[in-house]
Symmetry: C2
Subunit: 336 residues, 2 copies
């Protein structure tokens, strides 16, 4: 475990150095905008997503430098989502990673624009990966398209949408909270079924468990999955190996969210660097549905599945798989 | 002129048909989100940007179908920028193209997310252009990277940032309006120079004219330029021809904005489909700086330059240049 933590820290630092390089390279923009982008990018965090890109690419025989632009893009995408999620019209949070949120420092309009600028820069930076000869244009374009799919309406933003309307579901207040929200929009929406707000039209059931699964698989899971897939696709992984590594990604993505839900209940605001707002807002969480012990057991089970998926990989450098095993273990045991 | 208007309408309809296909293809998202995305995408508009992608690609020997994904992506990018621009923390507009703005129908949170989802989908759709054999992955990736550059902090979002703080500059109220805005953000920003908010650090002067030029070249101009460049880069244009077509794009981009400023003063709310809010907000515009006649003369001059740039093109199908000449003329004479 100690070995993995060193790996995580070393690569996180490498990513941070490269993030600074990228934000330092933005010409023709008012300084307030690049300052706002940099403020949130440099606010810390574990850099789990870019390190997953690197670790997966290494497993498939590439080097960190081969996928560094895409790895940085993953972290920028994550950062934009936090800036927009903290806005007053969303979670209205004042603190993030122990520091005032972006709009508290730069104002709401600039926080909106800094998020938009980051989300756009994500793809400019990602595309740069095509100029690295060991990767090339075709693999980069395929990885970029898959990544955009996971980050958008079919993935992360879809999960965020459901999350906005799921507030209160665990406390049986869904109807009244939703009614309150709808007052702020047009009357036409009031007659729509719960499914319209919370789940894709293709969903088989509309239980709280189904909603929780959809939110977690997408709001958090999609980007964890995208990180692993990006590393794999850039490195040219395909066939059965791609399926196995996706299985791994799905499992650790869900573990990540379960641990988040556990920490929201058990950790202090100081440990989290933000307020424990999910429980307070009556949000649907693993803990509210399955209890602390049930959630921990669920996490154990998923870790075992993730490890099994790694065991099944064929065309990989097995000695380079240690960080991926370590990441799964780390997700389970992390306490901050 | 009539010929060009037919060309514009025919291609606009083609784009709209393809936009519907794309929004119909978004799996795994709550219906409220895809409805919100579609609401603004299908709210009309002249579809100038995607038609410019098509017209430029045709000039360089490709067909509309060869660049349709990228053309649709350009329109989606434009649409997301309108949704976010209309939000209460930005321009706080109730009407857009004669219909209630996105947040008036779906609420602020959903409008934010619909904009984010569209901006992400832009790149998923754009990347799809790489699968069209006449274009390929390399040209698509190069065009995508250039496009992201124009749409982000170095282009459109940079211009929007400056625009947010330039309110009131034409009426000598810049200081007090800026002070009011800064009250909503942190105190640290209050001591910064005007340049920090309005212009890139590399700008040579901080006059109202310099600010106006920066805003217009970027807030509107960058995306018009990106449309032309996208068509050209996908079609493999390079060297002197690429420079000439960029010159053309710069000129018509600026004409587009000058006409917008003129219409904001001379057209009715009904004609515009939105309120004439720029003049009311004391925004910096061509008309406020140069007067109506001065603005019209400036537009004439730019049209002539744009036509000259087209005259200079070498490796193009000259008979296919008519729509690009027509577009320049159209920008000058449009009254709606």
């Amino acid at each position: 475990m100690k070995e993995f933590e060193t790996y995580l820290k070393t690569n996180a630092k490498l990513v941070e150095k490269n993030l600074s390089k990228w934000t330092g390279k933005i010409p023709n923009a008012p300084k307030i905008l690049t300052d706002a982008m940099e403020y949130s990018l440099q606010a810390g965090g574990k850099r789990v997503r870019p390190v997953l890109v690197i670790a997966t690419a290494e497993a498939f025989g590439k080097k960190a430098a081969d996928v560094m632009p895409a790895a940085c893009a993953l972290e920028m995408l994550h950062t934009y989502s936090l800036i927009h999620d903290d806005l007053p019209c969303m979670d209205n949070d004042d603190l993030r990673r122990g520091k005032p949120t972006n709009h508290k420092v730069f104002g709401e309009d600039l926080a909106l624009l800094a998020g938009d600028a980051l989300l756009t820069y994500v793809f400019e930076v990602f595309a740069q990966n095509g100029k690295i000869k060991t990767i090339g244009a075709a693999n980069t374009l395929a990885a970029l398209q898959n990544f955009a799919h996971r980050a958008g309406a079919s993935g992360m933003v879809g999960g965020q949408t459901s999350d906005v309307y799921a507030e209160g579901m665990s406390t049986q207040e869904a109807q009244s909270i939703r009614a309150e929200k709808l007052k702020k929009s047009s009357k036409k929406l009031a007659d729509k079924s719960l499914r319209y707000f919370l789940l894709p039209p293709t969903a088989k059931e509309t239980t709280p468990e189904a909603v929780l699964r959809y939110i977690h698989e997408n709001k958090t899971g999609a980007l964890i999955r995208a990180s692993v897939e990006t590393g794999a696709l850039l490195a040219g992984a395909k066939g059965a190996d791609l399926k196995h590594i996706q299985k791994y990604a799905d499992c650790i993505g869900l573990v990540f969210q379960i641990v988040d839900d556990i920490l929201d209940v058990t950790a202090t605001t100081k440990q989290l660097g933000k307020s424990n707002s999910d429980a307070q807002n009556g949000k649907l969480t693993f803990v509210s549905l399955f209890g602390l012990e049930g959630s921990r057991k669920h996490a154990q089970l998923l870790i075992a599945k993730a490890q099994k998926a790694l065991d099944s990989l064929k065309n990989v450098k097995r000695k380079n798989l240690a960080p991926l095993y370590g990441m799964a273990e780390f997700f389970k045991t992390r306490t901050y």
